[in-house]
């Protein structure tokens, strides 16, 4: 009798052992390298909530993508590059279909491994701008628009469309002293040379994020015509507070999309009126997309968002939703192309190259007012979506421009050079020779 039990148990364990891998395969592993702790959690958390909630919504509403449920596991990096690399290795060993490094520093660190590991890297709205070159960066994607695209659009906005009007002007570039903060410098330096403005880079260290008096004393002394901010985490709130204290004219203070974060502006409220940010997304809480998330996830009690703080209506949360929309579109494209719902990394890579969020598709998703259309391809891993300039009116952000586009004539030669330099510095570097475009 005892022997019978032992045999049955052994058989059970064996069966479970055989069945487990098969069962484990029946989810789409789309993990995220998140940071809900540390000095960058304030801006990271709402983005990660948005990303997670859209995937949860697909699981709840549609049973996943193509009938396969999504496993959206998070690995906490604290925005720390070393921890990010550990997370990358962990997720790789677990069979992740994609990695989302969520930091330009981590992106740059793991970028050389993508060609070896052959796992797509998805860095929506961040990362190394030259990743747009799909022929060189076969496995890396940074849709819908890159930092160099963003810097180009901001410069056009501050120049009112006439870049030559910046001749003789002084532009301060207040940035996090981190690979992310330095990313737009090559483009800005090139533009300064061409259009005759003086670029004044002002770095902000990690321990100075909440005490930027030295940086803003420099701004007071130098009296720049514009301050362009490339900040993240607590740096943005610190800068906005100091700008108010220094009485720097808010209409001359412009940020990249990460600075469009309502809780940071609410710290100073009316006093930040006129502050602008370039943003590739815009809040539309009544859209079909957001209402689906509300119905299936938020109201169902399956979201981690802070409802009391109005997080659902923030630019950051809804940007996180759109990030997952792009990834889900890639998965769907990959499934269609592969003819099977269970895709592998190479198929997802091709799916990312097939993403086409045109007006019709955005309307179908119910996100036509939330972002501009774009498409990626084999050679174009960014998509170069247009963006709006949005302005803080004292209580919320409002659109103050039509959709703007980046100046490809300036950016593309820089991308070509940066890609070639990167490939040369990382030999042997596998180019995507199949990419004929």
């Amino acid at each position: 009798m005892k022997m019978k039990h032992v045999t049955a148990l052994a058989a059970g364990i064996l069966a479970a052992g055989i069945a487990a891998p098969a069962f484990a395969q029946e989810v789409l592993k789309l993990p995220n390298m998140s940071y809900r702790t540390g000095p960058f959690a304030a801006t990271g958390t709402p983005h990660m909530n948005g990303q997670l909630d859209y995937m949860t919504m697909l699981n709840e509403r549609d049973g996943g993508i193509g009938g396969v449920r999504i496993a959206f596991e998070e690995c906490e990096t604290g925005y720390n590059t070393e921890k990010g690399v550990e997370c990358y290795e962990k997720l790789k060993s677990e069979g992740a279909l994609v990695t989302q490094p969520w930091s330009t520093g981590i992106t740059l660190q793991v970028l050389p491994r993508t060609n070896v590991d052959e796992i797509p890297m998805f860095a929506p709205g961040y990362g190394f701008s030259a990743m747009q070159d799909g022929k060189t960066f076969k496995w890396a994607f940074n849709p819908p628009t890159s930092y160099w695209d963003g810097a180009s659009m901001i410069m056009q906005a501050v120049a009112d469309g006439n870049l030559d009007s910046l001749d003789g002007k002084k532009i301060a570039f207040l940035h996090l002293d981190h690979p992310y903060g330095k990313e737009p410098l090559p483009l800005l330096e090139a533009m300064a040379g061409t259009h005759g403005f003086e670029l004044l880079p002002i770095p902000v260290g990690l321990t100075e994020m909440q005490n930027q008096s030295a940086q803003w004393l420099q701004i007071r002394r130098e009296r720049p015509d514009f301050v362009i901010m490339w900040g993240w985490g607590a740096m943005n709130a610190g800068a906005i507070t100091e700008a108010v204290k220094t009485r720097y004219p808010m209409e001359q203070f412009v940020s990249v999309w990460w600075g469009a974060h309502e809780p940071d502006l609410k710290l100073v409220g009316e006093q930040a009126k006129g502050y602008r940010a370039l943003s590739w997304n815009f809040v539309d809480s009544e859209s079909k997309l957001m209402q689906d998330v509300k119905t299936h996830v938020v109201d169902a009690g399956k979201s981690q968002l802070n409802q009391g703080a109005g997080e659902f209506d923030t630019t950051a949360y809804q940007r996180g939703i759109l990030m997952s929309v792009i990834l889900a579109e890639a998965v769907e494209a990959a499934q269609t192309e592969a003819g099977t719902p269970m895709i592998n990394q190479e198929q997802l890579r091709k799916g990312l190259e097939s993403v086409n969020l045109d007006e019709a598709r955005l309307a179908e998703l119910g996100a036509e007012e939330m972002m501009a259309p774009f498409a990626m391809s084999c050679s174009n891993h960014t998509g170069h979506a247009s963006a709006w300039m949005i302005e803080w009116d004292g209580t919320k952000f409002v659109k103050v421009s039509d959709l703007m586009t980046a100046d490809r004539a300036v950016i593309d030669p820089l991308v070509e050079k940066a890609s070639a330099d990167y490939a040369a510095a990382n030999q042997p570097w596998q180019m995507n020779d199949d990419c004929a475009e």
């Binding site: 809900r36 702790t37 540390g38 000095p39 960058f40 959690a41 304030a42 990271g44 958390t45 709402p46 002293d177 880079p201 002002i202 770095p203 902000v204 260290g205 990690l206 321990t207 100075e208 994020m209 909440q210 005490n211 008096s213 030295a214 940086q215 004393l217 420099q218 007071r220 002394r221 985490g233 607590a234 709130a237 610190g238 507070t241 100091e242 204290k245 220094t246 009485r247 809780p263 940071d264 609410k266 710290l267 802070n306 009391g308 703080a309 997080e311």
Partner: protein
């Protein structure tokens, strides 16, 4: 020659040419210095009484500030939220003593230091679970802290003084005076100092280690709350405040780990000098952000001359 001019002449010429701006730089440095000194005080107090380097001081600042704001968000009036936060900090001190420190009595210092890292990680998790990770607005005006600014016009220019910074400086001075009176004049304060001087001797005359540890951690909690209010009023309350604790390390190296005076002088010296160096030498000559390393270099230079820091005790161990 031009290089030498930019190092030895131009910065001083700038100071003379725009004295109002120089005054503003010194004021901002002083305010930063007061805040560094406050954080350093928390470290000193615990080290003085128990020889524990409390890695958790930074997160205690965040936790205290979040508790205060969190209580207010839940409808507790601001002036009631302060004592309630102190109650929370007291129970935290009791819990740390009971759960972490008491079982580790007589363990090497490094073990106790590692235990405070554990406390840090626990408080990060607990704080984020209860209060979330987003930026919160410090309840500055609700606490009666003025939020306007005074504009003075010396030398034909202007100096802007934030009223909340003045409040921070006055508050910090009062806190330090109270602390010095407590440590030097009260029986309990003398017991803390006795424990810091010699554990065995203090225990042999009946001083209770557990009681002293709870009191010291609670006082550090009070300092953490004061620091959290002041820093939070400047740029909001978030977990980023935790990294500011790193600024206390060079202050401690400069001033000495056991000295309250050292923490204050060290904090003020580093606050002013790093600001002046950044504005007049760092930004024009080194590309800026010298505040990230200047304080450490200054502390290292002091350590070369006085390894125990400016006000630290020189320990002679007999073998």
């Amino acid at each position: 020659m031009e290089r030498l001019h930019s190092i030895f002449v131009a910065p001083f010429a700038d100071m003379v040419a725009a004295p109002d701006f120089f005054l503003q730089v010194v004021w901002e440095g002083l305010v930063s210095g007061v805040l560094y000194a406050l954080i350093a005080l928390g470290f000193v107090l615990i080290f003085k009484s128990s020889r524990i380097f409390n890695f958790a001081q930074g997160i205690m600042v965040v936790f205290a500030a979040l508790t205060l704001v969190g209580l207010h968000e839940r409808g507790v009036p601001a002036l009631l939220a302060v004592p309630l936060t102190l109650v929370v900090m007291f129970f935290l001190a009791v819990a740390i003593e009971r759960v972490v420190l008491r079982p580790l009595v007589n363990q090497p210092d490094i073990i106790l230091f590692m235990a405070t890292i554990g406390v840090t990680l626990f408080l990060i998790g607990l704080g984020e679970t209860i209060f979330g990770g987003e930026n919160k607005v410090m309840i500055t005006s609700e606490l009666g802290i003025p939020t306007g600014s005074w504009i003075m016009e010396p030398f034909g220019g202007f100096v802007s003084i934030e009223q909340k910074d003045v409040t921070a400086v006055v508050g910090a001075v009062l806190l330090v005076i109270a602390l010095l009176v407590f440590l030097n004049k009260s029986k309990m304060g003398r017991a803390i100092r006795a424990l810091g001087d010699d554990h065995q001797a203090a225990l042999s005359v009946g001083i209770s280690l557990s009681t002293i540890w709870v009191i010291v951690w609670f006082i550090s909690g009070i300092i953490a709350l004061a620091t959290g209010i002041v820093w939070g009023a400047r740029a909001g309350v978030s977990f980023a405040l935790e990294v500011i604790a790193l600024k206390a390390l060079p202050v401690l190296m400069l001033g000495g780990l056991e000295s309250v005076t050292g923490a204050i002088v060290g904090g003020l010296a580093i606050g002013v000098l790093e600001k002046v160096f950044e504005i007049y030498w760092g930004q024009p000559l080194l590309g800026g952000n010298t505040e990230a390393w200047f304080a450490y270099v200054l502390a290292l230079l002091v350590l070369l001359v006085r390894p125990q820091g400016l006000f630290g005790e020189k320990i002679i161990e007999r073998v």
